[in-house]
């Protein structure tokens, strides 16, 4: 295959970026998208140019490191697919592919297609955990967990922290990401004691970090590579409401 690539090149966080066009020949449809970029880089390096910088690691859709905005969509055209799982057979021979980094105020560009997603870690640090110290856990089967609940918690816990939901959203909202963690822990009996504090501090943190609010356009769900559904945002909203009411009662 032959493809024309229009890639966002930006020297560093402060520099002004621009699109640069590359023509690439002898691309195999069997190549993964990132292997195609490796192939481009191999040629750039040999011709003395700066290779394109992007994040990646596992290359099997589980670590959440990769994440490119491809032809106007986070992670490209296939549903439930991360950038690294995408293959060139999903693209037209002779076509043009536009590749950009995630665009969000909360994710500053580091270089080219690499962005800083530390803000997602900060949201988790604000409460995305169950406070149990090593050594203090009870016997695992002493707290039964209904199968439907553990399955639900698992579905929410599948989030890989890639940030595509933020990139997809016109408000740069991180609500799907927050909702996934809040829901996982709210489904499980172990997560109940801290549920109220958790949802409040995580939502607040996202706000402080510059992520926008949710206006129910569902583009996050559409582009989430793990298929995290927006029903978890509804679940989070209920948790949030419950937390407020509880707090008032206590006070």
């Amino acid at each position: 295959m032959k493809v024309t690539l229009k890639i966002w090149r930006q020297k560093n966080a402060k520099a002004k970026g621009r699109f640069v066009k590359y023509k690439l020949e002898n691309v195999s449809p069997e190549m993964s998208f990132l292997e195609m970029l490796d192939y481009l880089n191999e040629q750039l390096i040999k011709s003395g140019e700066d290779p394109v910088v992007f994040d990646h690691d596992c290359r099997e859709g589980i670590c959440g490191a990769c994440g490119l905005y491809i032809n106007g969509r986070p992670h490209g055209p296939e549903k439930r697919t991360t950038t690294c799982e995408l293959h060139m057979r999903s693209f037209k021979d002779g076509g043009t592919i536009v590749i950009e980094p995630w665009r969000s105020k909360a994710f500053p560009v580091i270089k080219d297609l690499m962005v800083d997603r530390t803000a997602l870690d900060e949201i988790i640090r604000s409460g995305g955990y169950i406070s149990v110290n090593t050594g203090s856990a009870p016997e695992a089967n002493s707290i039964p967990v209904g199968k439907h609940l553990s399955d639900k918690a698992f579905d929410a816990a599948e989030c890989i922290g890639c940030g595509a939901c933020v990139a997809a959203c016109k408000n740069s909202s991180a609500m799907l990401f927050v909702a996934a963690k809040v829901s996982q822990m709210a489904f499980l009996p172990h997560g109940k004691p801290e549920a109220a504090d958790r949802v409040q501090s995580m939502v607040k943190k996202a706000d402080v970090l510059g992520f926008g609010g949710c206006s129910n356009t569902y583009s996050c769900e559409h582009d989430c590579p793990k298929g995290i559904p927006v029903e978890f945002i509804a679940k989070m909203n209920r948790e949030f409401f419950k937390a407020k009411v509880c707090k008032q009662k206590v006070e």
């Binding site: 191999e42 690691d57 596992c58 870690d121 995305g128 090593t134 203090s136 016997e139 089967n141």
Partner: protein, 639 residues
């Protein structure tokens, strides 16, 4: 002169750890704050150690080269994590888990360490469950388990095919909690490039800031490596592309012995190579062998579509050769059997380097829904890579480099031969002998980090409470930083025309061909020679664009490839030295009449721990004899 002391406590197996633990020194809560500990790595081993040490009140600094700790390679583990809970009432126990592990490792692991790993396994499951890890539950609300290779009980806890992800996110959440509390400081996108030793003790690291290219100095009273494995030495492997042994290797060059470097597990079920640009091989979890049946056509070079090959023309070779364990033989056995069939001309697919893993019968018996529930994500993953739908036709699979049993030599305290330097998780050598059983690594990594290291490191730190903060403006840090700078300058200034990846691909192929699944003296020697030649070429023709003082992914790769050349050489030496077959190390010269591994216990029942003697000098071999006090050494049989 290095003298190996494994520090294995005396006494009955089941009392060793309990007794030993109570004899270890403690550090009072008030003193812990004053002690700095560096943990390199945020996989299950590193994140569990760092969060536990943080909870105890130590001042912890944690490093990873990814942008966030949640991406450590443990996230990719699929099938499960073992524990001796015996929830299935099928005769499991700590002792049986111990026994299976010793046997699975072909009697090349330490009894005491293995028993301890089995002993703390139950607590690991309790802890993960409390952290909100959504393990599979049955309808009664109890935890579910499944079977893995090499055992006849059902002791593997799982969260679909994403057990590693779920456990890692569990430890990541406790790590995050400590970061929030300020006991742990997280340093992401920083790669350890050297170890700093002061007065014979590990006192800090030099790391390269991967965003700015700057070299940075960090000091501590003790350093813990939890940097994972080096299966990526083959280039194509089931590991994440970034996984590499540099941290362990630079420590090795500073005095930490490296044990059994050639013990590398080749996993039998990975998606085969599909194109020449392929950058990685994706694992299809061993758990699939619970329901999938492995076969090849009975006829050589059979080009028919698998669905058109009738039952009687299929050779279910594992079930045929190993009736007792069938498709659930241990990995080394399964891998060699696949290679043997393919080499004999029965392989399938375009390359002939693949066998079938078939779910037809399981789907017929249990229904598509049940199979989807168990393996849905793996089937989806397979389809994305290959374009084949495994519900409709069998998967094609082939062995791939996967796990390194070898690693830094550690004693019972998990301390290396450098005082104050610890190695935990896959980066050490201690628990899996010559072959790791499925789901035993997540168990060991978590056990090391949560329930072993926090005790043993206190014993060391207790003597250091009067030592104030270690300054970094000392000659030792200066010298280490300068050496790293020179290493980088050397690479950047070669200015040749071949990329680091291209060298990595070639060196990986050499090792795969000559020091891979099947080895012999002549081949290993040839591999070592080819490797040397390629390394010379590397220092003449490598190209790295840009400089060391900036974000430079090509330099990152080159530094790692440099390490692979050196560790590859030691792998060959180790494989050559061990003229027996055991577990994953199969020397053609030493096999039974039926082609199984043949150990030579009188000569080789030892851990081969290698000492670095200086650039260009031969490594020196130290032997730690393996004394089996409790288990009788037998020829492994899965027939």
């Amino acid at each position: 002169m290095i003298k190996l002391d494994s520090k294995i406590p005396s006494g009955p197996l089941s009392e060793k750890w309990e007794k030993y633990k109570t004899g270890l020194k403690l550090v009072s809560p008030a003193n812990r704050k004053k002690l700095d500990v560096i943990v390199v790595g945020t996989g299950l081993a590193g994140a569990s150690a760092a969060s536990s040490l943080g909870e105890l009140g130590y001042n912890v600094k944690v490093f990873c080269f990814q942008d966030t700790p949640r991406r450590a390679h443990s996230v990719a583990a699929q099938g499960g994590i073992n524990a001796a809970k015996n929830y299935k009432n099928d005769g499991d126990s700590i002792y049986r888990l111990f026994l299976d592990t010793i046997k699975g490792g072909d009697y090349r692991a330490r009894e005491a360490n293995v028993y301890r790993a089995a002993e703390v396994s139950n607590q690991v499951i309790d802890h993960y469950t409390a952290l909100g890890v959504p393990f599979a539950h049955d309808y009664g609300g109890m935890l579910d388990t499944r079977s893995f290779g090499g055992v006849q009980v059902s002791r593997t806890f799982y969260a679909k095919g994403q057990t590693g992800q779920q456990c890692l996110l569990g430890t990541y959440s406790s790590l995050s909690r400590q970061v929030n509390k300020g006991t742990v400081t997280m340093y992401s996108r920083k790669e350890m490039v050297d170890l700093v030793i002061i007065d014979g003790k590990a006192r800090g690291i030099i790391s390269r800031n991967l965003v700015t290219g700057e070299l940075e100095r960090y000091s501590a009273h003790a350093v813990v490596l939890a940097t994972g494995g080096y299966g990526t030495v083959f280039y194509l492997s089931t590991l994440a592309l970034g996984s590499n042994p540099m941290a362990a290797w630079v420590s090795h060059k500073k005095g930490a012995l490296f044990a059994n470097p050639s013990f590398i597990q080749i996993h039998p079920t990975s998606v085969p190579v599909l194109n020449e640009y392929q950058s990685k091989l994706t694992l299809m979890s061993e758990s699939l062998r619970n329901d999938g049946r492995v076969w090849v056509p009975k006829q050589k070079n059979d080009k028919r579509h698998p669905n058109e090959i009738p039952e009687e023309e299929r050779d279910y070779y594992l079930e045929r050769q190993y009736p007792a364990y069938g498709n659930l033989v241990p990995r080394d056995v399964g891998s060699r059997a696949a290679k043997e069939r393919c080499d004999a001309g029965y392989g399938v697919g375009d390359t002939g380097l693949a066998v079938y893993l078939d779910f037809k019968d399981a789907i017929k018996k249990q229904g598509k829904k049940a199979i989807e529930n168990k393996y849905g994500n793996l089937f989806e993953m397979y389809e994305k890579i290959s374009g084949i739908i495994p519900y409709d036709e069998p998967m094609r699979i082939y062995p791939a480099g996967h796990y390194t049993m070898g690693g830094l030599w550690v004693d019972y305290n998990l301390m290396t031969t450098i005082p104050g330097l610890y190695a935990i998780g896959e980066s050490n050598f201690s628990d899996h002998g010559a072959n790791r059983l499925g789901a035993n690594s997540l168990m060991q990594c978590s056990g090391d980090g949560y329930f072993i290291l926090p005790y043993t490191i206190a014993d060391y730190l207790a003597d250091d409470i009067a030592t104030s903060k270690i300054p970094t403006d000392t000659p030792e840090f200066e010298k280490a930083e300068k050496a790293v700078n020179e290493r980088i300058e050397r690479l950047v200034n070669i200015k040749g025309n071949e990329t680091a990846t291209s060298y990595h691909r070639k060196l990986g192929k050499i090792l795969w061909d000559y020091c891979g699944m099947i080895r012999n003296e002549e081949g290993i020697k040839k591999g070592a020679k080819l490797l040397k030649e390629l390394e010379e070429d590397f220092y003449k023709n490598l190209i790295i664009p840009g400089t060391g003082a900036e974000l430079n992914q090509e330099l990152e790769k080159a530094l790692r490839v440099e390490t692979f050349f050196e560790i590859g050489q030691l792998m060959c030496q180790d494989a050559l030295n061990r003229k027996e077959s055991c577990g994953a190390h199969f020397r053609e010269e030493s096999q039974t009449e039926t082609g199984e591994t043949l150990r030579k216990d009188e000569e080789y029942a030892y851990v081969a721990a290698w000492e670095f003697k200086g650039e260009g000098k031969e490594h020196e071999l130290h032997k730690e004899p393996l004394n089996f006090e409790f288990v009788e050494l037998k020829q492994r049989s899965y027939k």
